[in-house]
């Protein structure tokens, strides 16, 4: 099981990855720039994502919105920014590949001449509204900001949310655009996948024609940082919510680092589905919680492992904390059962096969090839990625859980209804979210 591909590097440093799949008369074009909110500075947050918006507003040779000609060609298209990378993609009918390459290359090579203060200010307004809609006006929407701010110190690249702080977005200047583009948006900091109904040699020829002329830029230096939580941090956030919710977070391995797959599987057996330990204990048997979830949030520089539970009416977050801690303690004492591990691995295998179903879009084959290309420098990492899960033993899971899930080194965030700070875990201090 894998995603077959060929790989080429243009003279300007652009990595080009080609994958053939003729099941649909369609081609996915997918570009990753190795820049995200981690490359921002305190006081200047939100810029990487705001910049992504500007990439859809026109370039020197097509100075109009990018959606119109692509949608008219039958394309689906989008882009996204996270802490580690920014991606752009189109899925076009086979006979519109040329259009997608033309447009992606034009904004990689010729964005700045078309940018205006007016476009910049309009998209800043859109982003401020995006922040209000998806964070401020959504129950528990600012929990993530409170958690990363507590897990990672102020200068750490993961301290802030990718959407950015309001004051920083308002302070962002048009002059910042030029410097950002020149530093991060050039062939040597990008990876391009063309996947689908293609003839690879023809596709490579067209890619070289469109992208080969773009000048190389300096490859940004990788970031290295450390962060740790030395003891327990208890925070409270008041929000427009009815039911209090508890978030417990621990530092955990970075993406693809030793222990990452293990903590992913631990999250599954702890809270994925009705047969999981926390669901069974908190929702099914004791009815303390209305929902539970657990995640291994693995990012490029660091990870964090998280448990979330919402209190059922009449139950306190302290009760939830005790019940979660008891269940985790049992896991740390006894380790997982073989059946739990088998279930986790069966689901991982299935998920890996499912990931081969789609060509383009977020998480499709083209996006995966680029993820492996950018994060592990090997587009062919699919099988080794799966092997990380297949070789995990019950003992490995047990050791990883013991190493990372420690009650004395965690961030415990209580999100409570406005005016009900007493519902938080005892000793919680107000979280700082702006």
């Amino acid at each position: 099981m894998n995603i077959p591909f060929t790989e080429h590097t243009l003279e300007n440093g652009l990595r080009v990855i080609l994958h053939e799949d003729h099941r649909l008369p369609a081609v996915a074009v997918n570009v990753w720039y190795h820049v995200g909110s981690k490359n921002e500075q305190p006081g200047r947050t939100g810029f990487a994502h705001l910049f992504e918006h500007l990439m859809f507003e026109g370039s020197e040779h097509y100075d109009r919105g990018y959606f119109h000609p692509l949608q008219e060609a039958g394309a689906a298209l989008n882009g996204s920014t996270n802490s580690d990378r920014t991606n752009y993609w189109e899925v076009v009918p086979t006979n519109s590949l040329e259009l997608a390459l033309w447009m992606e290359s034009d904004r990689m090579g010729y964005l700045l001449p078309a940018l205006t203060v007016q476009k910049f200010e309009n998209q800043r307004d859109v982003v401020l509204n995006e922040r209000r809609q998806n964070y401020e006006n959504r129950p528990y929407g600012l929990a993530g900001a409170a958690i990363t701010a507590a897990l990672f110190p102020p200068a750490h690249p993961y301290h802030w949310l990718t959407i950015g702080e309001i004051a920083d977005l308002n302070a962002a200047s048009f002059e910042d655009v030029r410097a950002f583009f020149q530093t991060y948006y050039h062939p040597a900091n990008a990876s391009l996948v063309v996947a689908g109904d293609i003839d690879p040699s023809h596709a490579l020829d067209r890619v070289a024609a469109y992208f080969g002329e773009i000048p190389a830029g300096p490859k940004p230096l990788p970031l290295t940082v450390d962060a740790a939580v030395a003891d327990e941090v208890r925070l409270v956030l008041e929000d427009r919510v009815e039911l209090p919710r508890l978030y417990l977070s621990w530092h955990s391995p970075a993406m693809f680092a030793p222990g990452d797959a293990e903590m992913d599987l631990v999250a599954d057996l702890v809270a994925n589905g009705k047969a999981s330990r926390l669901y069974r204990a908190l929702v099914y048997e004791r009815r303390l919680a209305t929902e539970v979830a657990a995640f291994q949030n693995s990012r490029e520089l660091a990870g964090f492992w998280q448990v979330m539970a919402t209190a059922a009416p009449g139950h306190s977050l302290a009760e939830l904390d005790d019940a979660i801690t008891d269940e985790l303690a049992r896991l740390l004492d006894e380790g997982p059962e073989q059946d739990e591990l088998d279930r986790g691995r069966a689901q991982v295998e299935t998920q890996f096969v499912f990931r081969l179903q789609t060509l383009g879009g977020f998480g499709g084959k083209s996006d995966q090839l680029n993820a492996y290309s950018v994060f592990v420098n090997d587009p062919g990492f699919f099988e080794r990625d799966l092997a990380r899960y297949e070789r995990v033993s019950a003992q490995d899971l047990h050791s990883a859980a013991q190493r990372f899930v420690r009650r004395d080194r965690r961030v415990a965030l209580s999100v409570v209804p406005k005016g009900s700070r007493s519902l938080a875990l005892p000793g919680s201090v107000a979280a700082d979210v702006s």
């Binding site: 949608q71 008219e72 899925v91 401020e136 024609a209 039911l243 047969a275 179903q357």
Partner: protein, 457 residues
């Protein structure tokens, strides 16, 4: 290497033909219908068990019963508890998805082919012989009541409810599948058992399969899985969706107060059309121009020109009965009246002095047809498409002829359906916002005096 010409965009080719896989139809002796389509390439199979009833089948006073019943199915069967059932799905690398819409209930799972017979048998057992036990009922009901409590603080969910209640009144489409607190508190386990007995009958079930499976193996798997399923006292009830919705009054404006809300949620619309309306294709083309894609009039106006929202869209929700037409957006508080006015102006314009232009129509038609093949990439998408054929009685060549029908829509038709089905003087506007800030704004801007509203939850 052909040189690059940056003076113009490259030409794009003509539409590529779409060929939907042949659908194989069969029926078990107990009348369960089997519809399948092969989709090769990966060892994956999707099963969807479709029943032609959903939340619209909830009787008055029992809002939420259909969804609660569906939710009870995977709470155990025979001597196996919910935990054991779900652990078994986990061993098969999959899980069961339960979706209760207004017109239909769909139980779905996608799994690796080697697990397909076992996964199907487990799904069948849950449908045919669910435990429906008291303790599980009490727990699921209180989880649903908690969900209703949480929804009080989800502005988008409040806006959806306020809008549907205003527009549909006493019609079965007025309530969401989750139901209301009052009804959920009154529903008993006996109601759930009766609903299950009455509705989950083999004669009304269609098992859809897509992926690495053919008609013969589906028949073999299904025969085994559903071998003990017999119709008892099944009777076909009249389709509740066909009750006529209330007539629309003059334009009305309702405001739900959410003190301190960071934005305003807006819904504008009314009762739309049924899935089998002869105007279906002209209407989806019209909606693409109006609010159905990024470059639509409404999104370009509210987001790209004025920057007062992250996005705005519109759509006809075509159902067996007349589903809603809704324009929806979430906008910054201090520009709420501006947004409502602009949206209403666009609705009015497309149905009067600014009908779709030839260029807009060509863009919309191309966007709908040229990428159409993308809709049939995964086994899940193919199975989902087949459920549409079953539920709405569409012709076997529906997907193969879609592009041709869309391409035939002309300005005259698009203009006619806009005028026939979008009457801005009879639309309903519901806003969920901080009323102290937004109420005076709406009055001052001439949108109108907003009526305070507290939607039923």
């Amino acid at each position: 290497m052909t040189p690059v010409d940056r003076t113009r965009l490259p030409a794009v080719g003509p539409s590529l033909p779409v060929r939907f896989p042949d659908v194989h139809k069969d029926r078990l002796d107990n009348h369960v219908a089997l519809w399948s389509a092969p989709h090769r390439g990966l060892p994956v199979v999707t099963f969807m068990l479709l029943f032609p009833f959903g939340s619209a089948a909830d009787f008055e006073g029992y809002e939420g019963l259909a969804a609660l019943t569906a939710d009870m199915l995977d709470e155990g069967t025979g001597d196996r508890s919910a935990v054991e059932v779900n652990a078994e799905f986990g061993r098969l690398g999959t899980h069961l998805d339960t979706d209760v819409g207004a017109d239909a209930t769909v139980l779905a799972l996608t799994c690796l082919s080697r697990y397909a017979p076992r996964a199907l048998s487990l799904m069948a057992e849950l449908v045919v012989r669910p435990r429906l036990a008291e303790a599980d009922f009490e727990r699921l009901r209180s989880l649903r009541l908690s969900r209703l409590i949480q929804i009080r603080d989800v502005p988008s969910a409040i806006a959806d409810r306020a809008f549907m209640q205003l527009v549909y009144g006493a019609h079965p489409y007025a309530h969401m599948a989750l139901g209301t607190e009052e009804a959920l508190r009154q529903i008993t386990l006996e109601d759930v058992r009766a609903f299950h007995r009455r509705n989950y009958a083999p004669a009304s079930a269609t098992l859809v399969a897509a992926g690495e499976i053919d008609g013969a193996s589906l028949r073999a798997f299904a025969q085994e899985a559903f071998r003990d399923w017999h119709a008892d006292d099944h009777q076909t009830l009249p389709d509740p969706a066909l009750v006529p919705p209330p007539a629309a009054p003059a334009h009305r404006l309702a405001l739900v107060n959410k003190a301190g809300a960071a934005q305003s949620e807006i819904r504008i619309g009314g009762v739309g059309l049924t899935r089998n309306t002869p105007d279906y294709h002209p209407l989806i083309v019209l909606n693409m121009v109006l609010g159905g894609q990024f470059v639509s009039r409404i999104n370009m106006k509210l987001r790209q020109e004025k920057g007062l929202t992250y996005g705005a869209r519109s759509g006809f929700d075509f159902r067996r009965g007349r589903g809603p037409f809704i324009l929806q957006t979430s906008v910054q508080t201090d520009r709420t009246a501006d947004a409502v006015n602009e949206a209403l102006a666009e609705l009015q314009a497309i149905a009067s002095d600014r009908p779709p232009t030839g260029e807009e129509l060509e863009t919309a038609k191309a966007a709908l047809t040229k990428g159409y093949a993308r809709n049939f990439e995964t086994s899940d998408q193919i199975a989902r498409a087949i459920t549409q054929l079953v539920l709405y009685g569409l012709s076997d060549d529906y997907f193969d002829t879609f592009a041709a029908k869309v391409s035939k829509v002309d300005i005259e038709q698009a203009t006619r359906v806009a005028r026939a089905h979008l009457d801005v003087t009879k639309l309903t506007t519901a806003v969920v916002a901080d009323a102290t800030l937004v109420g005076p704004q709406l009055t001052a801007s001439g949108v109108g005096e907003a009526v305070p509203l507290l939607p039923r939850l």
